[in-house]
Point group: C2
Chain length 192, copies 2
DNA sequence: TTACAAATGTGATCTACATCACGTAACGCG
DNA sequence: CGCGTTACGTGATGTAGATCACATTTGTAA
C-alpha cells in the first residue's frame, strides 16, 4: 500500500476529514527513504520534525553518560516517533532516533503540525487522540516495569510484537527491557 | 484563590478563551470536597469522570494481585487525574484514585469533555497540550526508572515536590518509587 | 485516656540481575 | 574471498534491593 493510503486510513480512525481536507493535510508531509542505520535525530541537535513510519523499524533511544542506551520505542508501520520533548519545547535533542532496518517515513515539521491543528479542528482532534494513546501506552509500560520481572516483560513484548524477535538484534531488545544483554541471553536459553 | 480562578489561570496558559467561553467551559465542572482517605475511583467499577485538583493531594495507583500497590501519580493543585485508560475506552477501572489528604477537586465527565472539545476548538487544543505534557512526564519517569537507582529517583522526586516529604506517608513514596518501604527507610537513614 | 491500627526503623538472609571476562558465530565490506 | 566488526553465549563474582521478622512510634477513634 502506498504511503498516502496508509496515513489516510490511520487518520480516518479518529478524525473525519473530507478528501480535500486530507489532501491539504497530506501535502505537508515529506516522504523519506531510510537505509539501515540512518540517523534522523541525534543528541544535541535541533529537532524540528516528527516522523510517521510507513515501513521498516526505527528506534527512539536515550544514551546515559555516553555508555548505556535505553530504547524508548520501536517504531513500526503507523507509529509516530520523534524527540517530542525537544520538538515541543524547541530545545536540543536528548533523545536519538535512527533506523534499525531500511525504512520509509513521512516527515512533518512541528510548525506544520501546529498550523494544521489550528486550521482544521479535526486535525487537532486527531493529534489529541494520538497523544492520548501514547500516554496510555507509556503508563502501561511504566506499570509493567514496576510490576513485572524481566522474563515477564520480555514475554509481554514478544506477545505484542512477535516480528521484533527476528527483526532487531537481541541487545536492542535488552535495551528496551532495561536489562543487560547477558541477562536477556540467559533468559531465553536457560528457560527453554 | 477560588477554584474557578485556579482553573481559569491553568487553562489560559495554553488556550485562549473569551470570558463567555470560559463560563460555558466551567459550567460543566462539579466541585467536590474530599476527606482524607475518600475514594473517587475503585478497581472494577465504571469510570466516567476525570478530576482537576484544586487543593490537597490525591493518588492514582495500581494494585497487583491484591498485594502490592504502585503509585502512578501524586496529584496536587492544577493536576488532573483519573483512570484514563478506563475513561477513554469506557471500560472498568484497573486503576484506583483516592485522596491522601482532605482535598478539593472539580469533576468533569468524559461525555462533557468530549462535548466541550468538539464545541470549542480551543478546548480541544488545551486538552491536546495537557495530554502531551502528561506523555512527556510519563516518558521521563520511565527513563528515570531505567537509568537511575532508587536513591537517585528518591532525590529526584523530592527535588521536584519537596512538600511530599511531610505531606504523605513514606510507604506511599516507596510505592511511587517502586521499592519496598524498608529499602526506602534505610535509604535516608543510612545516608545521613 | 486508653487501646488498637497504621506507620516506621532495623537486623538477617536470599535472589535477580549487573558486571567482568572470555570464547564463538555471523555478517558486512574491502 | 578473507578479515574485522558486531552479535551472541556462558561462567564467576559482586551487589542492590526484596523479603521476613520483630520492635517502636505515631495517629486516631471510641
Amino acid at each position: 500500500m502506498e504511503a498516502k493510503e496508509i496515513l489516510k486510513q490511520h487518520v480516518s480512525k479518529t478524525a473525519m476529514l473530507t478528501d480535500e481536507q486530507f489532501e491539504h493535510f497530506f501535502s505537508h508531509f515529506k516522504p523519506k527513504s531510510l537505509k539501515k542505520g540512518q540517523v534522523l535525530i541525534s543528541e544535541g541537535e535541533k529537532v524540528d520534525h516528527e516522523y510517521f513510519v510507513i515501513s521498516g523499524c526505527l528506534k527512539a533511544f536515550f544514551i546515559n553518560d555516553q555508555i548505556k542506551m535505553y530504547i524508548l520505542q520501536f517504531a513500526m508501520t503507523t507509529w509516530w516517533t520523534s524527540d517530542y520533548g525537544a520538538l515541543y519545547n524547541q530545545s536540543k535533542a536528548t533523545i536519538g532516533v535512527d533506523s534499525i532496518t531500511d525504512a520509509e517515513v513521512l516527515c512533518l515539521s512541528n510548525q506544520d503540525r501546529e498550523k494544521l491543528c489550528s486550521q482544521l479542528h479535526q486535525v487537532e482532534h486527531f493529534f489529541r487522540w494520538r497523544t492520548n494513546k501514547g500516554y496510555l501506552a507509556s503508563q502501561k509500560r511504566l506499570l509493567s516495569f514496576m510490576n513485572n520481572d524481566t522474563k515477564a516483560r520480555y514475554e509481554e513484548l514478544l506477545a505484542l510484537y512477535p516480528q521484533l524477535y527476528n527483526l532487531v538484534p537481541k541487545h536492542l531488545i535488552a535495551s528496551y527491557l532495561g536489562v543487560s544483554r547477558e541477562t536477556l541471553s540467559r533468559l531465553y536459553n536457560t528457560h527453554r
